[in-house]
Subunit: 156 residues, 2 copies
DNA sequence: CTTGACTCTGTAGTGACTACAGATTGTTAA
DNA sequence: TTAACAATCTGTAGTCACTACAGAGTCAAG
């Protein structure tokens, strides 16, 4: 199969597949005479693996590690558990952080119920004060609030 | 005051201040003879405002909108409330999404309690299956799991 | 007068894609 | 046969909010 079909089967944009190849995650060994990439069932499985990991918000570096375990079937998989536990920890930490953030935002919102002139807006005035320190996500690798789980919106 | 002091006072890296200037958020009107930027108390307040907004994970485009309200004190501030409500909505949506993600990760983790060889690892096998569809964060602007609230780690 | 701290401009890197431009290859209809 | 069109190719630039330099200039203290 060619790249377009692989994309359709796995729900992955074609350009993302080529990006994974540049990143060394998924290489097509063969090409047609006309230089088109050729894939088979093993590529479908490998790409599904990658996309599943990404849908679980793992970084590509984490996926790379998991792929190494897949490629070495005799190895002990204890480190897989370790990696997953760490990832769960990061997600849990980010949830705690966002909950604190939500509380701060709601208390800020309390300061201005009615629309009036901006000069007396409690929200704008409060924002001019330095922020109080909150959770700071020291060791983790968890994103800010903007952006989103793009992997799943691929088709639209 | 010069850029270093402004950075110290507001807890902002110097290069970030220059970045905000390039982005049109905070301009130093004056320079010294030696071409150094000069700031005063109004800049401290404006930068504090920006940093406070960022510590609440607002995008710079959102901050830009709020700054416009600050710069037009006679205007009605109803849209400030609207913006903040939308932002709270995005944060809440991201929390829901991450909670669903955490459940999926914990159920995945259940599949392999003991370290054994990777060929029979329940986690690796499960990941090779296509993901089930979950929350997808359609309209929002909320990030993935990696990265983090960098604004607060500025000093280290 | 030299050392060192500070500042300047400009450019490149981050992560995980996304979006082109411009060329080539393959498929189908007239 | 030819023309249109879809699919693919390579390569580069853009996204966001910074961060990290390089290389040059400015300034205060010893």
């Amino acid at each position: 199969m060619k790249i377009g079909e692989l994309g359709r089967v796995t729900g992955t944009p074609v350009e993302t597949i080529r990006y994974y190849e540049r990143e060394g995650l998924l290489a097509a060994q063969a090409r047609t005479e006309g230089n088109f990439r050729i894939y088979d069932a093993s590529h479908v499985e490998r790409l599904s693996f990658i996309r599943h990991c990404r849908s679980l918000d793992m970084a590509l570096d984490e996926v790379r590690i998991l792929l190494r375990f897949k490629d070495a079937p005799g190895e002990n998989c204890g480190d897989v558990n370790t990696l997953l536990d760490a990832h769960i920890g990061h997600v849990a930490a980010r949830i705690r952080e966002l909950r604190a953030l939500e509380r701060q935002l709601r208390s800020l919102r309390e300061r201005c119920h009615d629309a009036r002139d901006a000069a007396h807006c409690g929200i704008l005035n409060e924002l001019s004060q330095p922020p109080r320190q909150g959770a700071s996500n020291e060791g983790g690798h968890v994103h800010g609030v903007h952006g989103g789980a793009r992997a799943r919106n691929a088709g639209k």
